[in-house]
Amino acid sequence: MSAVRITRFATAVSEITRNAIVHGGGGKISIYLDGRNEYLRVECRDEGPGIENVTLAMSEGYTTAGGLGKGLGGAKRLSHGFEVHSAPGKGTTVSMSVKL
């Protein structure tokens, strides 16, 4: 993997895991490799309050914690695959992947 790709993906993981700590009160992170060694997938799960409106949370400049409001959308742009599963009271799971 190129240095740029590593930096980009590491930054995305950093954004998401920090969110899990700040908003979700900590969580679990799992790292998977797909069967053909083409993708690396990082799944970050927390049991926090969850996100009410995922689309709104992904939008530019939206923040509830006084940050820049670019983390979630930015992390999506920095990964090749990006999925958020969340509902109020159900916690949040973010799955990010990068091509190897």
Binding site: T7, T11, S14, L68, G71, G73, G74, R77
Partner: protein, 291 residues
């Protein structure tokens, strides 16, 4: 009237104090926890004497109806001596196991003396032994707690020192400061960096500050926010801020994250930033004509 276990133990401690100290030392040697490499014989003896004196005082006043708690006032002396001894031992690199074994070694001299006391009927010896065990165990547990507390303090102090060390503000030239950042920039460190930097600006009458992030691995939105806030504070103080060491990787990442550096100047290397800074404060870099 039958003697209580505590009375028997107290009797031993008071009538054969130095005998117990010596045998305690002997057991420590046998268990290999005396650490004669770290403490001289007289030091060890003095420590044991003081500990046992305080322990005896606790047994005399602090055990009521065979119940006690080392948190009570009567045990204050023991706690104080233990704090001193533990500090000394942690400082010289004694392990928690050694420290606990060191205290637990006190059981042996007390057991042998209880056994030798002729006025104990066979059934009572068990309850006396039990009492010694309870007392010495409490003593050892308390020691460990103090020991760990002492270590925690050392770790906390070192963390603090590292935090300060890791954010050095260097005066590169007249009115030009640089702040080489290395590693991760979390909120606590960012705060430290900012305070340090702003104070130094005032102290050195700096006009240009170079924040070099060559050694920062990832710049995510939080790190970027910390950097931009520091830059804004620098500007408020009337100085100019240049962020240098933006690698191609970090530049691409920041663009994708949508981070806008606004009016903060950025440079790819500290070298170009320095040339820039010197120019700003009125210096010219020239090749010497003398060859």
């Amino acid at each position: 009237m039958p003697q209580t276990a505590t009375a028997n133990i107290l009797n031993i401690l008071e009538s054969d104090f130095s005998g117990v100290v010596e045998e305690w030392l002997g057991t420590q040697v046998k268990e290999g926890v005396k650490r004669s490499d770290l403490f001289s014989d007289s030091e060890s003896r003095a420590q044991n004497q003081e500990l046992l004196k305080a322990f005896t005082k606790g047994v005399r006043a602090g055990v009521v109806n065979e119940e006690f708690s080392l948190d009570d006032d009567e045990w204050e002396d023991l706690r104080a001596v233990l704090a001193d001894v533990s500090k000394e031992r942690v400082g010289r690199g004694v392990t928690p196991t050694e420290m606990a074994t060191f205290v637990l070694a006190l059981k042996a001299p007390l057991f042998t003396r209880l056994e030798a006391m002729t006025d104990i009927e066979s059934g009572k010896l068990i309850s006396d032994v039990l009492m010694v065990t309870r007392l010495v165990d409490a003593f050892a547990i308390y020691t460990n707690e103090i020991f760990i507390g002492e270590r925690d303090q050392i770790i906390e102090r070192q963390r603090q020192e590292m935090l300060e060390l890791s954010t050095p503000v260097v005066e590169l030239w007249d009115r030009v400061l640089t702040l080489p950042l290395i590693g991760t920039l979390d909120s606590a460190r960012a705060q430290e960096v900012m305070e340090n930097l702003l104070e130094t600006i005032l102290e050195r009458q700096a006009e240009v500050v170079i924040m070099d992030i060559t050694g920062v691995g990832t710049v995510d939105t939080q790190v970027a926010q910390h950097l931009l806030r520091a830059a804004a504070a620098v500007r408020l103080m009337g100085a100019e801020c240049i962020i240098s060491g933006i690698s191609p990787m970090i530049a691409q990442t920041m663009v994708q994250l949508g981070i806008d550096v606004g009016t903060v100047s950025t440079r790819s290397s500290i070298r170009t930033a320095l040339a820039d800074a010197l120019q700003k404060v009125g210096y010219v870099i020239k090749t010497s004509e003398v060859s």
